[in-house]
Amino acid sequence: MAQTVFAPWDDPQQKPLIQFVGVTKRFGDFVAIDDLTQDIYEREFFALLGPSGCGKTTMMRMLAGFEAPTEGSILLSGQDIAGVPPNKRAVNMMFQSYALFPHLTVWDNIAFGLRRSDMPKDAIAARVEEMLKLTRLSKFGRRKPHQISGGQRQRVALARSLAKAPKLLLLDEPLGALDKKLRQDTQFELMDIQETTGTTFVIVTHDQEEAMTVASRVAVMDEGRIIQVATPEKIYEAPNSVYVADFIGDVNILEGTAKANGPESYAIDWGGAEPATATSARPFSDGQKAHLAIRPEKIAISAERPADAANAVQGKVLDIAYLGNLSTYHVELPTGQVIKAQSANTRRVSRRAYTWEDPVWLSWSATAGVLLES
């Protein structure tokens, strides 16, 4: 690898911008954040991903200063920010509802934070113009928030939170209110802006696709804990648990017992006609319970049994979901289990090879699945 990859988390020389050290947050009896320790580095685009109620918003609100940790400490550039009120932190937040001031124009909304600092007047004006340009809103400065579209409001909120050039920008479900097409465009815009300004972004989202698209690292959360933190690719291809594998994308889980059948290779007896073969760097003892997680697109579908496949099972087509670019086949095995297999529709004019009730073979390589402990 000649080109340098942005991965400060692998570099022990790098100092993290934010450190969560043993942070616990309780609301009464409810534990929102459970003894969490995590570093976030400068210029990162860090995504907190999880179902609602997993504590991701609480983590963000603690960074903004609206909540204080019950135990542990949060460090920003090495300084504990526990007692610092929100208005004294070099952290700005973009709210889910955007929270634009309805009585102020777009221009005044963006200038709001700058006017609270001791910045001279013409410097404020220049900065606001710069922000309007960055978010392509120059024409809308004189309008009130209710006179612009949802996508424009989203950009005003972004411009306002970026105007003070914070060390850290927090984005709370920033694209939740936009429709799908606009959301996709805005994701790339966000990434561009993050790169241009060099600001560290922490984004909270429950949309895994959004997290995967924008983030340099994704933290998958559940019940107040971070289950896995890794690059989108690692999260998808090498999940560390059934929870992560299941939460991100589609997955087939074969449950069974492992038995070593070679170096870093295991046979998994999952109840099928023959055991499945899978490689795993993680060691499993003989007879240990294991989950084999295989993504649908890694399973091939064919009419005949492929000669060279490491794993092959027969079943019959139960359902076909045509998604345009892909087709997903739901194949029922003799054991009653339903396996999802995906194939790309690479040709425009073709007859569908398989239809309902057809007997088909599913096959996958030994490296296609991830072997996970239960």
Binding site: G65, F101, G113, S161
Partner: protein, 291 residues
């Protein structure tokens, strides 16, 4: 045709319930007092020509000559103005607390604000006589706690009038402000703090401007009736309390001088129409802003 009928209804309403009574009062104000029933002349019985020629602005001229009247107007404006300010200062924190209270508490608090309306206004003002008089509850309580050793004279002074007006009109101030504050999105305050405002700055820069319409509505709802108030100054006020509502009542019932009383009423109406027009323009602007 249907449109014409629809438009005609509110105009007929206005004509029958406002313009016609006003025209009658205005006509009386241009008449002269007389020992008759009704106690003024000329009337329609004298014929239309005599009626028109018998009218003049004498009573309005009289109002400018006796300084009782303009003093009463000024004093009324002053009392209404300061009562409105005090009501705002008392009502705003109450509305704010109501809007910030837990959701399940709000209907109860709202009920408590409206509850006084279940009793007659007159009885509630009389109750204040019992509280504020020299031997009243307030003085007894203050004497018992030892804060004062001689009873305070509150009843029959302007203080009692202020207390009465603030007490009576407080709900009219609270309700519109509460309505404005309740709609206020909490995240706006957080956004203001996030952008560098202290709590106090966020209140001045976000909460106050966004509840402005409620404040304006509340102030007019207090100021307009307080200006013409009659019951409170006559029950709680003293001989030194000069309010135009009281003057009007005395002119009408004690002096039986209907023409002068009508002239006082016409002037009062003109003074009121200015704030009412301002109020309506504010409402209109608010509606336009919401579109």
């Amino acid at each position: 045709m249907r449109r014409a009928v629809l438009i005609a209804v509110p105009y007929l309403w206005l004509l029958a319930l406002f313009l016609v009574p006003f025209a009658i009062v205005f006509k009386v104000s241009l008449s002269d007092t007389a020992l008759a029933i009704p106690p003024y002349t000329p009337t329609l019985k004298d014929g239309f020509g005599a009626l028109i020629s018998g009218l003049d602005f004498e009573n309005f001229v009289f109002l400018t000559q006796d300084d009782l009247y303009w003093k009463a107007y000024v004093s009324s404006l002053q009392i209404a103005f300061f009562s409105t300010i005090v009501t705002l200062l008392v009502g705003y924190p109450m509305a704010y607390a109501m809007a910030r209270a837990p959701e399940e508490w709000r209907p109860t608090l709202m009920m408590l604000v409206i509850l006084p309306f279940w009793t007659s206004f007159l009885i509630r003002v009389y109750a204040w006589v019992g509280i504020l008089s020299t031997e009243g509850f307030l003085n007894q309580f203050l004497l018992w706690t030892g804060i004062i050793d001689t009873p305070l004279t509150i009843l029959n002074t302007n203080w009692a009038v202020y207390i009465g007006i603030v007490y009576t009109y407080l709900p009219f101030m609270i309700l519109p402000i509460y309505a404005a504050l309740e709609r206020l999105d909490e995240s706006l305050i957080e956004a203001a703090e996030d952008l560098g405002c202290s709590r106090m700055q966020a209140f001045w820069l976000v909460t106050i401007p966004l509840s402005r319409n409620g404040i304006v509505a509340g102030c007019f709802l207090v100021f307009i009736p307080a200006l013409g108030e009659f019951v409170i100054p006559s029950l709680l006020g003293g001989s030194g309390t000069l309010m135009i509502g009281k003057v009007l009542f005395e002119e009408f019932f004690a002096n039986r001088d209907w023409p002068v009383a009508s002239a006082v009423a016409v002037i009062l109406l003109l003074i009121l129409i200015i704030p009412i027009i301002l109020f309506q323009r504010n409402e209109q602007r608010q509606q336009e802003a919401e579109q």
